[in-house]
Amino acid sequence: MEYADFFTKFISWLLTFEKNELILAFSAIGAGFAMIAGIGPGVGQGYAAGIGAEATGNNPKASKQSTMVMLLGAGIAETSGILALVIALILLFANPLIALQGDKLVLASSAIGAGIAMIAGMGPGIGQGYAAGKGCLAASINPDGSKPSLLVMLLGTAVAQTSSIFSLVIALILMYANPLATTEGHYLILSASAIGAGFAMLAGIGPGMGQGYAAGKGTEAVGMRPRLQPQIMRTMILGQAVAQTTGIYGLIIALVLLYANPLINLL
């Protein structure tokens, strides 16, 4: 064969395996990729814990309120790590790809794509943790009037969650309703598209972190001047919406790769 180089040898070696063997092997890699998302909540919650300790030191009387807000915020920051864990557990224990019809390399690559997409959860984890720290600080400074700032923290962290939910949707599409498996085309292009769709979703790391930072600053500002809550919140939401754009670009590229792949027709 003219192209009998390492790459083609590698691919044809992969193709010597049975369909289920290949899917399960790649699912193991995908599960590992998904868990990289855990970096985010770890960093974010660590920051919140540090601020919590600091706040308790500064105002021990309010430590109950500030610790409560810290734990609430850390719980929110945990979400994207749990979403990634769920995808990894599904890949390991209830792998839906085996039951799907289609080319084995495409389905196996979809497992890796789904795992890579979940890494985006790193962003919301870090961002929401930052917001949790700021909420904790606000509760420590003004324990009795921390409601307006808590509300801003919850709203801001909810917005910051968006990108990890986008990633979850792409991962679930790849695993349960894989459009590439039923697409006519060269198996190598379709497989690479599944992995590429996962990579595109990594853009969500940025919006997650940035929106979380905005949520933190909004919480801080409202904590200092609760009466200005509407104006502060308006500015925060507007800025967060702008920060979402690149995450949406990534989602669009992933959806194009999955549903309207222009590369197949070029061959």
Binding site: Y3, F7, T8, S12, G123, H186, L188, I189, S191, A192, S193, I195, G196, F199, A200, M201, L202, A203, G204, I205, G206, P207, G208, M209, G210, Q211, Y213, A214, A215, G216, K217, G218, E220, A221, M224, R225, L228, Q231, I232, R234, T235, M236, L238, G239, V242, A243, Q244, T245, T246, G247, Y249, G250, I253, A254, L257, N261, P262, L263, L266, L267
Partner: protein, 88 residues
Amino acid sequence: MEPITGKALILACSAIGAGLAMIAGIGPGIGQGYAAGKGAESVGRQPEAQGDIVRTMLLGAAVAETTGIYGLIIALILLFANPLINLL
């Protein structure tokens, strides 16, 4: 099994490349979020200057968006106007 031709390899790598290009979106997201945070902070400090603050924030966010759009353009070129296959 269909053989892997050079053209198929280029197109497959283009799909992965398009996805990798979109990772650029991390930066604008972080930066614009930082701007949004500082904007919210400043409005809290000086609410009467909200209009000016938001205008500056959006101007800066637009500049920060550029590299994300560069990544998007490269991804779209790789997908819809792939120049590499014409070089074969």
